[in-house]
C-alpha cells in the first residue's frame, strides 16, 4: 500500500517527508512551553552550571532534534520502500537488486508431446517455481520474454523501444507476482513459428546493459534442439555478451526425449505451366524427423478454387473458396530421417489464385502436419518468342510449346524493337522469353531482360547464323556477369557421325532432359547437329556460374546447352538453331517435350516468391502501379475455412524512409499458418488480390536434442545447464544487503542515538529521581 502511495506522486511523498520532518520540531516547541516550575534555593550553582554548559546543551538538543527527524524519515522510507524503484538509490545504500530474466522458447517444437507432457508445460512449471521462490525475497525483479516476441522485436523495431517485446518487463516482485505469472502462462503457448534463441538473448542483453546497478540472472527455458544450439556461433556470442554485461546464464532443459514426428516439408506444383483448365501435378514431400519408422501414413488433401473476382462489388468479406476434397494419399512406410514424395493432380477450371491444402494425422508436433499452397492460374501462359525477322525457328518453338493446343501456353511473337521499348512490367507478363537467332540486342533491351530475369523470369536463347558473336560476347556475356552464359568465338561444323548409334546431342542428367535420360532407343539419337556456336577454347564450364547441360558429340565436348542463374531467374542458351538450318532437332519427337521442359524450367523462378513462413512479414511489390492508401488483409482464422478481414492504411512516409514498400502483412500478423490475402485497389480502380500461403518453418521440426556436452560448448563454461526437474534457482536471500535491511539497521542505530541523546538531555525518567517539591 505504501509502496504505491509513494510511487503514485512525488507531491505525496514530499508532503509526508516535510510533515514528518516538521513534527519533531513542533513537539519540541510544545515541550518547550510545557515545563514545570520549581522554586529553588541553590540557584547560584544552577546558574553557574548553565553559564558553563549553555553551548553544549544547545548542541545536544539540536542533535536530538535532528536524530528524531531522521528516525521519522527513515521509518517513512522503510514502510514505503522508497528507493526500491530507483537503481541509483539501491546502488548507494544497498547491494544491487536481483533481476531475473526468463526467456521462454515458444517455438512450435515446444509443443512436442511426449507422454502427454510437452516442453512448454515444463517451462510453465519452471516459471511458476521461480516466481514462487523470488516472491519470498526482497529486491527482486522479473522480466519474461517470449522468443517469438523477441524475434518480432528484432525484425520490426526501429530504435531502442524494447518495452513491448517483453510480457513482463522489470516488474517488481511482490505478493501479486504469482498471480501475474499464472495469468501470463495462458499467453505463453507454442507459436506456429520457428524461432531461434539469438534475438531473445540479444534483447535480454540490451535490457541488462541499460539497467545498471542490478544483479542479473538469465534463465533460458527451451527444448534445446540441435538445430538451434549445435555449433551456433551467433548464439554463443550472444551468451558471451550477456556474461560480459554481468549476467549469470542458466539453461533449463524442458525436453528430455523426442517422439515420432512427421512433417510435410514441402508442397508445390510439379510443373511451372499453370493454366486454367490444365491439370496440374502437385508434389508433396513428407519427412520422418524422428528416430523411428512410421508406417501407414494417410495424407488428406483438399483444394479450394478462388476464381478471380469480377466487377467492382468484389469484397474480401464475401470471397470464399469452394473446397473440394482430394483422394487420400497413402505412404506405406517412412524410415527415420527419410523423405517420401507423392504427386497428386489438382484441376481448376477457371483462372485465379487457388489453394491446395494437405494434412497429416496428428502426431507429437501438430503444427508441422499441414501445409498450404497457392496456385496462380491464368487463362494461358504467355511466352514471348522473338524471331526477328520471323522465320521457321519461331514456328517450331511455338509448336513445341503448345502441341495440339493442350498446354495452355500462348506464344506471343516479338521483335527486337519490342524488346528495346518494353518496360519491365510489360516483360513480366510473360512466363518466359525465347530469343531465336537474334543477331544483337539494344542496350535498353539488355537492361530490361536483365531485370526481367533477376525477378524470376526465364530466358532461352537459340542461336544461329545471324548471331553477332562479338556483340553477344561483349554486351551480353560481359565477362560472366551478363545475360548470356558464355562467350562466343566462332561457328563450328559438326562432323557427320559414322556411327549410327551415337547421338549428336549428349545430354546431362537435368530436368530439361529428364524425358530422354535413361531412355533406351531415345529419339534424341536421331538428331543431327550440323553447326554450333563455340566458346573460346579457354572458356570452361563454371565460369560466371555457367553449367553445361548438353554437349555435342565428340571428344571436344563442345557445349550445346548451357545454363546460368541470374537473380531469381534462369537463362538457357542452346548453341544451335531452333529451326532446321543447323539441326534437325526441331523435326525430332523429343523437341516439343524439350521445349516445354525448358519453358517450365526457366519460368520456375516466377513462382518461387509464393513461399512464406510464419513470423515473417510479407511485403508486396507494387511495381509501377499506384494503389489507394487503404487496403484490406485477410488472415486465417482458427479453422481451415475461417477468414479474418482487417482494414489497414498504408504508410507512405515509412515506405519512403525504409526504401521498401511496406504494404502487406507484418510479422506480428503472420503468426498463424494458412492463407493470407491482400486486397488493394489501384488509383485507376482495378482490384488486385494477392493471395499467399504461409506455412510453418519446417526446420523447427528437427527435434533432435542437443547433448549437454555440445550445449556447454556453445554456451560456454560459465553457463549452468539444468533440467527442468532439477531446477533450483540459486537465489540470494541477501538480508544484509537489501536496502530495506540497511534502512532498518540505520533506523535502529538512529533510534539508539536518539534515546541516548534524550537520556543526556533529560528527556527520560532518572533512576533516582524523586521529583522536586516546593513549599510556599
Amino acid at each position: 500500500m505504501f509502496q504505491n502511495l509513494l510511487s503514485s506522486s512525488p507531491w505525496v511523498w514530499s508532503g509526508l517527508a516535510i510533515g514528518l520532518a516538521v513534527l519533531p520540531v513542533l513537539i519540541h516547541m510544545i515541550n518547550h512551553f510545557r515545563f514545570r516550575t520549581v522554586r529553588w534555593a541553590a540557584m547560584d550553582f544552577l546558574l553557574a552550571s548553565h553559564r558553563r554548559n549553555r553551548n553544549r546543551v544547545w548542541l545536544k538538543q539540536l542533535l536530538l532534534l535532528l536524530s528524531r527527524i531522521g528516525v521519522l524519515l527513515l521509518v517513512l522510507a522503510s514502510v514505503s520502500r522508497i528507493g526500491c524503484n530507483s537503481n541509483r538509490w539501491a546502488g548507494w545504500f544497498a547491494a544491487s537488486p536481483t533481476h531475473h530474466y526468463v526467456l521462454v522458447d515458444d517455438s512450435y517444437s515446444m509443443s512436442e508431446s511426449v507422454g502427454g507432457v510437452a516442453p512448454i508445460d515444463r517451462a510453465h512449471q519452471v516459471l511458476q517455481h521461480l516466481s514462487g521462490q523470488i516472491s519470498r525475497l526482497d529486491q527482486q525483479r522479473l522480466t519474461v520474454i517470449r522468443w517469438s516476441r523477441a524475434a518480432q522485436w528484432a525484425e520490426t523495431t526501429e530504435g531502442d523501444d524494447d518495452s513491448p517485446a517483453a510480457d513482463l518487463n522489470g516488474v517488481e516482485v511482490d505478493r501479486e507476482i504469482n498471480a501475474r505469472v499464472d495469468s501470463l502462462l495462458a499467453r505463453i503457448q507454442p507459436a506456429s513459428m520457428a524461432v531461434a534463441p539469438r534475438d531473445a538473448l540479444e534483447l535480454a542483453g540490451q535490457l541488462i546493459r541499460r539497467r545498471d546497478g542490478e544483479k542479473s540472472t538469465v534463465y533460458v527455458l527451451s527444448d534445446f534442439r540441435n538445430r538451434d544450439w549445435a555449433a551456433a556461433p551467433d548464439v554463443a556470442n550472444a551468451i558471451v555478451r550477456l556474461r560480459d554485461a554481468g549476467a549469470e546464464v542458466e539453461l533449463v532443459r524442458c525436453a528430455e526425449q523426442t517422439a515420432a514426428n512427421l512433417v510435410i516439408k514441402e508442397m508445390k506444383p510439379a510443373g511451372s505451366i499453370r493454366v486454367a483448365g490444365v491439370p496440374l501435378m502437385m508434389e508433396l514431400s513428407v519427412q520422418n524427423v524422428s528416430g523411428e519408422a512410421v508406417r501407414n501414413v494417410q495424407i488428406k488433401a483438399s483444394s479450394a478454387a478462388f476464381p478471380d473476382p469480377e466487377g467492382a462489388a468484389a469484397s474480401p468479406d464475401l470471397a470464399n473458396g469452394t473446397w473440394t476434397g482430394l483422394p487420400v494419399l497413402f505412404i506405406e512406410s517412412i524410415e527415420p530421417g527419410e523423405s517420401v514424395t507423392r504427386e497428386f493432380p489438382v484441376f481448376f477450371s477457371q483462372p485465379g489464385q487457388h489453394v491446395v491444402h494437405a494434412r497429416l494425422p496428428d502426431d507429437a508436433i501438430v503444427s508441422d502436419n499441414q501445409v498450404w499452397s497457392v496456385i496462380r492460374l491464368g487463362k494461358s501462359a504467355r511466352v514471348l518468342i522473338v524471331d526477328d525477322p520471323p522465320g521457321d525457328d519461331a514456328r517450331f518453338v511455338a509448336l513445341g510449346l503448345n502441341p495440339g493446343g493442350m498446354t495452355g501456353i500462348e506464344s506471343v511473337p516479338g521483335t527486337r524493337a519490342m524488346l528495346r521499348d518494353a518496360s519491365i512490367g510489360e516483360l513480366a507478363q510473360y512466363e518466359s522469353i525465347f530469343l531465336l537467332d537474334v543477331d544483337r540486342l539494344d542496350e535498353s533491351a539488355v537492361t530490361g531482360l536483365r531485370a526481367y530475369v533477376e525477378q524470376g523470369g526465364g530466358l532461352v536463347y537459340f542461336t544461329g547464323p545471324r548471331v553477332n558473336l562479338e556483340q553477344y560476347t561483349t554486351q551480353l556475356y560481359t565477362k560472366g556477369d551478363g545475360i548470356f552464359p558464355l562467350p562466343l568465338s566462332r561457328v563450328a561444323e559438326v562432323t557427320l557421325s559414322t556411327d549410327a548409334g551415337v547421338a549428336d546431342i549428349v545430354p546431362q542428367r537435368h530436368p530439361v532432359f529428364s524425358h530422354v535420360i535413361d531412355v533406351t532407343n531415345s529419339l534424341l539419337g536421331l538428331v543431327q547437329v550440323k553447326q554450333v556456336l563455340q566458346p573460346p577454347l579457354e572458356w570452361t564450364a563454371g565460369t560466371g556460374g555457367a553449367r553445361v547441360l548438353a554437349t555435342v558429340r565428340g571428344e571436344a565436348r563442345t557445349p550445346l546447352v548451357v545454363e546460368k542463374s541470374l537473380g531469381r531467374g534462369t537463362i538457357l542458351a542452346v548453341l544451335t538453331t531452333a529451326g532446321p538450318e543447323w539441326s534437325n532437332w526441331c523435326r525430332n519427337g523429343t523437341f516439343p517435350a524439350t521445349i516445354l521442359l525448358m519453358q517450365e524450367y526457366v519460368s520456375r523462378g516466377r513462382a518461387s516468391d509464393t513461399r512464406h513462413i510464419t513470423g515473417a512479414p510479407i511485403f508486396l511489390d507494387s511495381g509501377e502501379r499506384t494503389f489507394q492508401g487503404e487496403y484490406e488483409i485477410v488472415t486465417p482464422g482458427a479453422d481451415l475455412k475461417d477468414r479474418v478481414v482487417w482494414r489497414k492504411t498504408a504508410d507512405p512516409v515509412k515506405a519512403i524512409a525504409t526504401g521498401r514498400d511496406r504494404e502487406g502483412v507484418s510479422a506480428s500478423e503472420t503468426i498463424r499458418p494458412g492463407i493470407y490475402e491482400v486486397w488493394r485497389r489501384e488509383l485507376a480502380g482495378p482490384l488486385k488480390i494477392d493471395r499467399m500461403a504461409v506455412n510453418v518453418d519446417v526446420s523447427e521440426s528437427e527435434t533432435e536434442l542437443i547433448d549437454n556436452r555440445s550445449l556447454a560448448a556453445t554456451a560456454g563454461s560459465g553457463t549452468r545447464i539444468t533440467s527442468s526437474r532439477e531446477f533450483r534457482p540459486a537465489l540470494e536471500r541477501g538480508p544484509d544487503g537489501s536496502l530495506a535491511r540497511i534502512l532498518l539497521v540505520v533506523l535502529l542505530v538512529l533510534i539508539l542515538c536518539e534515546q541516548f541523546l534524550g537520556l543526556i538531555n533529560s528527556y527520560h525518567p532518572a533512576r533516582l529521581s524523586t521529583g522536586g517539591t516546593q513549599r510556599a
Binding site: V38, A41, A42, M43, L46, N53, A766, S769, R775
Partner: protein, 300 residues
C-alpha cells in the same frame, strides 16, 4: 501550646541520652560534675541588666527598675550551669526548600530543639536566635527546663522569605553574646561564603566555640531533577528554564566547590562542621556528630 513532640524525636533523644556531650574546648562553665568551666562561683551573683525580650521569665524582671524607669529589664546572674549555648537558626527563604517530609527549616528547627532539650536536660543554658538578613527573633539563654517551650515557640515562627546575610548576623552575635559559649549555627549557608567564613572567624575570635550544621536538601545535593523545568530562585527572584539533567554535572561541580570551601574554611577556623541531609534521620545524625566532638575532645 507549642507542639514540642514535633521536634523532639523520642528515638533521637534516647540515643543522645546515652552519649555525653562534651565541649571540645573549655567554655565558661559546665553542668556540675559534667563540664569543666573557666568560671567558678554560684548563680546568686548579679551580673547585669538586659532589656526584656519575649520569652524571658517574668520572674527575672527587675520590677524596681520598671517602677523607676517604666522599662522592662531583666536581671542576669552568673549562672552555675556554665554552658551557654546559642542556637542560630536560619529562617531565610532558601530554608523553605525541601523535597522530603521536612524542608530545611523544619529540619533545622528540629535539630535546634533537640539540642536545646539535651542542653536543658543537662541544666546547660540555651538561647536561640532566628535570622535571615536580620535577626528575626531572639530567645535569651536560660537553663530552666521550662525554657524549652519558649525556644520551641521561637522556632515555630517559620521562614521569612528574605535573603540571608550571615556575616551581619554573626557579627551581631559576636558583639552581643556577652560570654563565651557554644554557638551552633544551623543554616544552608546559601550566601556569600567568604562573608560567612569571615563571620565565623569573628565569633571564634571572641572565644566562642562554634558548631555549624549545614542543612541541605537531598535534591540540592543530588540534583536528580529531570524534565523541562523552570527554576525560580527563592531569594533573588531570578529564574532559569532548562533541562536539569543537562546541567547536573556542572551544578554538582559548583556545589562541591562550595562545600569544599565551606569545609576548609570551618576547619581553618576550628569550627565544627557537619553537612546534614534533610533525609538523614536525626537520631543518627546527632549521635554521630556528638560522638565526633567527644573524640576530638579526648584527642585535645
Amino acid at each position: 501550646m507549642p507542639d514540642s513532640g514535633k521536634f523532639l524525636h523520642p528515638e533521637a533523644i534516647r540515643r543522645i541520652s546515652r552519649l555525653e556531650l562534651r565541649a571540645r574546648h573549655i567554655v565558661e562553665g559546665f553542668l556540675s560534675g559534667m563540664h569543666r568551666s573557666p568560671w567558678f562561683g554560684h548563680s546568686v551573683e548579679f551580673l547585669q541588666h538586659r532589656q526584656y525580650a519575649p520569652g524571658d521569665d517574668l520572674r527575672d524582671v527587675d520590677w524596681r527598675v520598671w517602677a523607676r524607669q517604666d522599662r522592662l529589664y531583666v536581671k542576669q546572674y552568673e549562672e552555675d550551669t556554665n554552658l551557654r549555648c546559642h542556637l542560630l537558626v536560619d529562617t531565610s527563604a532558601s530554608m523553605s526548600f525541601g523535597s522530603g517530609p521536612l524542608d530545611k527549616f523544619d529540619y533545622a528547627a528540629t535539630i535546634a530543639a533537640t539540642l536545646a532539650w539535651l542542653m536543658l536536660r543537662q541544666q546547660d543554658a540555651v538561647g536561640a536566635v532566628t535570622f535571615d538578613s536580620v535577626v528575626r527573633g531572639r530567645v535569651p539563654v536560660r537553663s530552666r527546663r521550662k525554657h524549652l517551650a519558649t525556644l520551641i515557640s521561637a522556632l515555630e515562627t517559620g521562614t521569612s522569605g528574605e535573603k540571608t546575610d550571615l556575616f551581619r548576623i554573626l557579627q551581631q552575635a559576636a558583639a552581643t553574646f556577652p560570654r563565651r559559649g557554644l554557638t551552633i549555627l544551623i543554616s544552608d549557608l546559601l550566601c556569600d561564603v567568604e562573608q560567612t567564613l569571615r563571620g565565623l572567624r569573628l565569633l571564634r575570635g571572641r572565644g566562642h566555640d562554634v558548631m555549624v550544621f549545614h542543612i541541605l536538601d537531598d535534591e540540592e545535593l543530588d540534583f536528580n531533577l529531570d524534565g523541562p523545568t523552570r527554576f525560580e530562585s527563592l531569594e533573588s527572584g531570578g529564574q532559569l528554564r532548562c533541562n536539569p539533567r543537562a546541567l547536573r554535572d556542572g551544578y554538582l561541580h559548583a556545589l562541591q566547590e562550595f562545600l569544599d570551601q565551606v569545609r576548609r574554611g570551618c576547619a581553618s577556623h576550628k569550627v565544627d562542621y557537619a553537612l546534614v541531609r534533610t533525609s538523614d534521620p536525626l537520631d543518627a545524625v546527632l549521635p554521630r556528630y556528638l560522638s565526633n566532638r567527644l573524640g576530638m575532645h579526648h584527642r585535645n
